[in-house]
């Protein structure tokens, strides 16, 4: 058997590009949702806190694939709109991992020492300055390990979009397999290796960011 023959690679790389693009866009959406809801959960306003808590519990309490199917099949019927598979995938991945990330944001911001906040009050900083200059830079370095784990989960989660027929890495692999069933083993070996490489590269990026965030702090 020809394991890992290179002629399988070009079509798989086409899908790999979609997977990477989907991962990147979803990470941006997820980060946005995480910060928005994480900060809302420690807001002064009770209605904002409960709204954010409801979002987080609903998305953490149901599974990603169910959300993906709901957004792709049910939501367009409900609102009478057209939704491309890519949009549905970004929405589901971004909202789902945003909910998990929200906990990371909330707990990191809360674990910034109380004295830091008192110091900003003593220095007469505005609420915006306090967040931007003092709390977030310190919370950010605490968030990174949590975000690092979540982004690997998100990358793995992108394989589910194959089930709503988005032409990602998994989809291309399944197509190749259907052309020639005898090469099933080789196709899946490539899929596993490509996902592993992607996960490893994303891990290195987060580690680099962790080092930079830790620079100059004791």
């Amino acid at each position: 058997m020809e394991w890992l023959s290179l002629d399988l690679l070009p079509p798989l790389l086409k899908g790999f590009k979609i997977t990477l693009l989907l991962t990147l866009v979803s990470i941006i959406v997820a980060l946005f949702c995480a910060f928005l809801s994480g900060l809302a959960r420690i807001s002064r306003f009770a209605w904002l806190r409960s709204l954010a808590a409801a979002y987080v519990e609903v998305f953490r309490g149901t599974s990603l694939l169910v959300q993906l199917f709901w957004i792709y099949f049910a939501l367009p019927m409900l609102l009478n709109i057209q939704l491309s598979a890519l949009t549905a995938a970004v929405l589901a991945l971004g909202l789902n991992y945003g909910a998990y990330g929200s906990e990371v944001v909330r707990s990191s911001v809360l674990s910034v020492p109380r004295g830091q906040i008192e110091a900003t009050i003593a220095l007469n900083m505005t609420a915006y300055q306090r967040m931007r200059r003092v709390i977030l830079p310190q919370a950010w370095s605490m968030m990174l390990p949590g975000f690092g784990n979540l982004q690997i989960e998100l990358l793995k989660g992108t394989s589910l979009v194959y089930l709503i027929t988005l032409a990602d890495l998994t989809y291309q692999g399944m197509m190749l397999r259907s052309y020639d069933l005898s090469r099933t083993g080789a196709v899946f070996a490539w899929l596993l290796i490509l996902y592993f490489i992607a996960a490893y590269v994303f891990t290195l990026i987060v580690r680099f960011a962790e080092k930079r965030a830790a620079a100059g702090r004791g």
Partner: protein, 224 residues
């Protein structure tokens, strides 16, 4: 828009498959618990011939998608090794092996939380290796990890819809079949979401309560 009569028609059919999803999650969890401990022990083995390959394999399983691993079990195994598994069995093995790599980390954290003095005490008392582990280290390292384990059980339950890809008739698969027969996806998929929420959210609250209770009892014992 929302058809209650249709809900009444499909709800019993969805409730019927909840046991399948629960059974897959529980069996997968049992397998993961069983495999997680030897993995954790092998990864901290003093022999690098055991520790390094085990670390490599678990990191590989952790960073690749469960979906692909399930496909390997149902498509590659029959072809390459002549081993044909039923979808349910393949699903349980896939879930179990994938999450055993997560649970091994939980065991590891539990083992590392045992104070160094406990190891020294068992040396001082002339305990053998087996007795040190079974009488001193494991009884102290496993109970504190119970809430985390509970969270993983809930996570695995929420992962069961992935098994629909290898034709295990769980909730999502059933909803898709029912929905495609009538084009009423809104009701079918919303119900699946509601069922998942109603089962997993109360369980998550229970685990949180257990966690708080254990923290409190730990604090009171250390004060004493």
């Amino acid at each position: 828009m929302w058809d209650w009569e249709y809900v009444e028609y499909i709800l019993p059919r969805l409730l019927e498959v909840i046991p399948t999803a629960l059974a897959a999650a529980l069996a997968g969890f049992a397998l993961a618990c069983l495999l997680g401990l030897p993995i954790a022990l092998a990864r901290r083995s003093r022999s690098k011939w055991i520790a390094i390959p085990m670390t490599a394999v678990t990191e590989f399983i952790r960073s690749t998608p469960l979906l692909i691993q399930l496909f390997v079990l149902v498509f590659v195994f029959p072809l390459s090794f002549g081993l044909t598994l039923s979808p349910f069995v393949a699903g349980v093995i896939g879930l179990g092996v994938h999450y055993s790599t997560y649970l091994s980390e939980v065991y590891r954290s539990g083992i590392e939380a045992v104070p160094k003095g406990q190891w020294e005490a068992s040396v001082a008392l002339n305990f053998g290796k087996v007795h040190t582990w079974t009488r001193i280290v494991l009884p102290q390292s496993i109970p504190p990890t119970v809430p985390v384990m509970g969270n993983y059980l809930i996570t695995m339950f929420k992962e069961t819809p992935t098994l629909s890809a290898i034709t295990v008739a769980e909730l999502l698969m059933t909803a898709k079949i029912l929905g495609s027969a009538s084009f009423k996806y809104v009701e079918a998929f919303t119900l699946v979401g509601v069922i998942f929420f109603l089962l997993s959210y109360p369980s998550a609250l229970l685990v949180r309560m257990l966690e708080r209770w254990m923290q409190r009892s730990e604090r009171s014992t250390t004060i004493r």
